[in-house]
């Protein structure tokens, strides 16, 4: 299948080439049969096959040298006239077939697939395979690009793939417009590539995500797959064959909203940690407890109800069709009219959730509700990113964007494996602890979400530090968190967690002694991240940070500076 484009050309060009050969044969043989004439006008023998072939060759290709080697007889001219028209038809037919072939959709598709396959095969760095490049996929792509990770995109819609070309990415991204449900398409996109790190199934189609998840599980069981699921049945199906991470944006938001009511400081901390790196800090959300109105009681509504009721919220539900919801008090309607909202007791309510699957209805509910009661805490659900300007203009207290939630979680899982462990430890901490950490994180990146990243002190990621530690040098955590350009400045970075074998050390102090093989979870700006990564990797940089001496590291220079070097040691100790 590698040179299938070549075979396709050969197959299509069969008929025109045969026509050309036949036309040449007829013309050449005919010309060798027609008698000629010599310079004195006497009959002469016809052209030989060689001369006839030469003449037809330059006539057929419209070069036309004239009548060579001698002037033709009238009989020869009659035959040549016939030949000229014949060969023109033959050549036109061939050329037109070739042009039609080049414009053929199927042929171009073959070329694109071949080019894509070659690019995937040549990928040298680890990459993620992103299936589905809608609102969520696109957000993931842009973030991964900014963080400097390589990825491959599969998207069903040709238009979206073309849009990817127009976007301002740092690198040229291999993208293919094809259906990711087909296993051979997944294989072609590098599913079994040695450098494939993980697969993200974030298409809009539940069934497609399911198909991708199971294909990955069977074709390359070694790599993790992250899948989006909206319905519990699909999520359960995915879990049954061991999908590594299943993200249901509705469940996640409901959980967050419940957490925001019950323990706002911890929620704020989680929001900062899982936010997309270097985006503006989210406004603090302080949803009040008490009576709430929930508009729309579908999948999202049900999940909200299960998470909000334990957090101490009494729900009143407004839904147009309602058969199975006898437990919470229910009012029929959309919630877009003032009458329905008053029926639901808006004057006594503390908050309202506009959670239907229609953006316009959600905005209408929100606007009507805040006109009736301006102090109300309003939560809106935004389904499509095209409506961004509307939701931004309304500026609800809390907006739920499913695509964004999925993207944030994917990025957090992919880029920082230690984060999950940290979030687990977080559950056991109280509100004041979380509040203190939030204040600390806010200062790191002047008003933006800090990037969360991990580094392992091994030979591949942190060569310099690893070598120094293996040689028995004592390095404390506070020693390496210095600015590589000026070591008197501390680097604005916070170490959240260190994993040493099975042991987890939460918020290690500055005098914590590092060991080779430690895994660090850090929060800092992206610039500080690059700074620290260089320090840990380059032995000379590390030496400067630790001792302040600027050595070049060359053996000759070290010999010259022998006395100076020992002085450096003294400073160090």
């Amino acid at each position: 299948m590698v040179n299938s484009a070549f075979f396709l050309v050969l197959r299509r060009m069969r008929a025109p080439i045969i026509v050309l050969i036949v036309i040449y044969g007829i013309s050449v043989i005919g010309l060798t049969l027609v008698p000629g004439v010599d310079a004195e006008g006497r009959p002469a023998p016809p052209l030989s096959i060689f001369h006839a072939f030469y003449f037809i060759s330059y006539t057929a290709t419209t070069i036309g040298f004239g009548e060579i080697p001698t002037a033709f007889s009238d009989a020869q001219r009659l035959w040549v006239t016939f030949c000229i028209y014949l060969t023109v038809v033959g050549w036109s037919y061939s050329v037109l077939t070739l042009i039609a072939l080049l414009q053929d959709k199927g042929f171009q598709n073959t070329l694109t697939v071949n080019r894509f396959r070659r690019r995937i095969r040549r990928l040298k760095e680890p990459f993620y395979l992103i299936c589905g490049c809608g609102e969520t996929g696109n957000l993931i792509c842009r973030t991964l690009d900014r963080l400097g990770h390589a990825f491959v995109v599969l998207e069903k819609d040709d238009m979206r793939v073309q849009e990817l070309d127009l976007q301002d990415f740092k690198t040229d991204i291999p993208a293919l417009a094809a259906d990711a449900r087909q296993p051979n398409i997944l294989k072609l996109s590098g599913l079994q590539h040695a450098k494939c790190r993980a697969v993200l199934a974030v298409t809009n189609d539940e069934e497609a995500n399911l198909a991708i998840a199971i294909a990955v599980r069977l074709l390359n069981p070694g790599i993790p797959v992250i899948a989006r699921a909206r319905t519990p049945s699909v999520a359960a199906n995915m879990a049954s064959f061991g999908t590594d991470h299943i993200i249901n944006p509705f469940a996640r938001f409901a959980e967050y909203l419940g957490l925001a009511v019950a323990s706002p400081e911890r929620f704020r901390l989680i929001e900062m940690l899982t936010g997309l790196p270097e985006t503006p800090l989210p406004e603090p959300h302080r949803p009040p407890a008490g009576r709430w109105i929930l508009c729309g009681y579908g999948r999202f509504g049900h999940l909200l109800a299960t998470h909000l009721q334990p957090a101490g919220i009494d729900l009143t539900i407004i839904d147009p069709g309602c058969a199975d919801c006898a437990s919470p008090p229910t009012i029929r309607g959309h919630g877009t009219e003032a009458v329905t909202l008053q029926q639901a007791g808006i004057d006594r309510a503390a908050g309202i959730i506009a959670g239907s699957d229609d953006d316009v209805n959600n905005l209408s509910i929100a606007v009507t509700a805040s006109e009736l009661k301006p102090s109300l805490f309003v939560v809106t659900r935004q389904n499509h990113s095209v409506n961004n300007p509307l939701f931004a203009a309304y500026n609800a207290d809390f907006t739920m964007i499913p695509g964004r939630i999925v993207a944030q979680e994917c990025i957090a899982i992919l880029t920082t494996p230690l984060l999950a462990a940290f979030l687990d430890l977080l559950r056991e901490r109280d509100e004041t602890w979380s509040g203190a950490l939030v204040v600390r994180l806010q200062t790191l990146c002047d008003g933006r979400t800090p990037a969360l990243w991990g580094i392992k002190l091994n030979i591949a990621d942190a060569q310099g530090a690893y070598r120094a530690l293996m040689q028995g040098q004592r390095i404390a955590l506070g020693d390496i968190l210095r600015d590589g350009t000026d070591r008197s400045q501390a680097l604005p970075a916070a170490t959240l967690l260190i994993r040493r074998d099975k042991e987890l050390i939460l918020l290690p102090p500055d005098d914590f002694l590092l060991a080779a093989g430690d895994e660090l979870l850090l929060a800092s700006s992206l610039a500080a991240r690059r700074n620290l990564e260089l320090t840990l990797h380059n032995p000379n940089e590390l030496d400067y940070i630790l001792t302040g001496s600027e050595v070049s590291g060359s053996w000759l220079w070290a010999r010259f500076r022998q006395p100076g070097k020992s002085a450096g040691r003294v400073i160090e100790n």
Binding site: R11, I21, G25, S48, F50
Partner: protein
């Protein structure tokens, strides 16, 4: 019956028979090897080659390669003839004739292989 198969078989066998017709006869005597027969053999051989384009099977690949060999041999024979008759002007001496005919003999061998493959393919056919 499949018209495509008929045409395919026709041209392969015709290429072999024309080639054989040119080749047969005393190798040194130019009057037994007419140049028109060589021309016809070359043209039919070229058409047979094009008919084999675009078949991705193993047998298709062998078919194409044998045909390409036959074409190469016949073109070499035609060039030898053209050089002798028109460029150097020595004409169809016994040496020239024997070299043209022996080149076409090589092509004949390739064409025979083609025909054998065709027969094998037909015998293997289960439909």
């Amino acid at each position: 019956m499949n018209l495509e198969k008929v045409i395919f078989g026709f041209f392969i066998v015709l290429a072999a028979t024309l080639n054989f017709g040119f080749f047969i006869g005393d190798i040194e005597r130019p009057e037994l090897h007419h140049v028109y027969e060589l021309a016809a053999a070359l043209i039919v051989s070229l058409i047979a080659t094009v008919l084999k384009f675009g078949d991705r099977t193993q047998i298709g690949a062998i078919h194409l390669s044998t045909s390409l060999v036959a074409d190469l041999q016949l073109i070499a024979a035609a060039i030898t003839w053209a050089v002798a008759v028109h460029i150097t002007g020595v004409g169809m001496t016994p040496e020239v004739t024997s070299s043209v005919v022996s080149l076409s003999g090589g092509a004949l061998f390739a064409n025979v292989v083609s025909v054998i493959i065709l027969i094998v393919e037909t015998v293997m056919l289960r439909r």
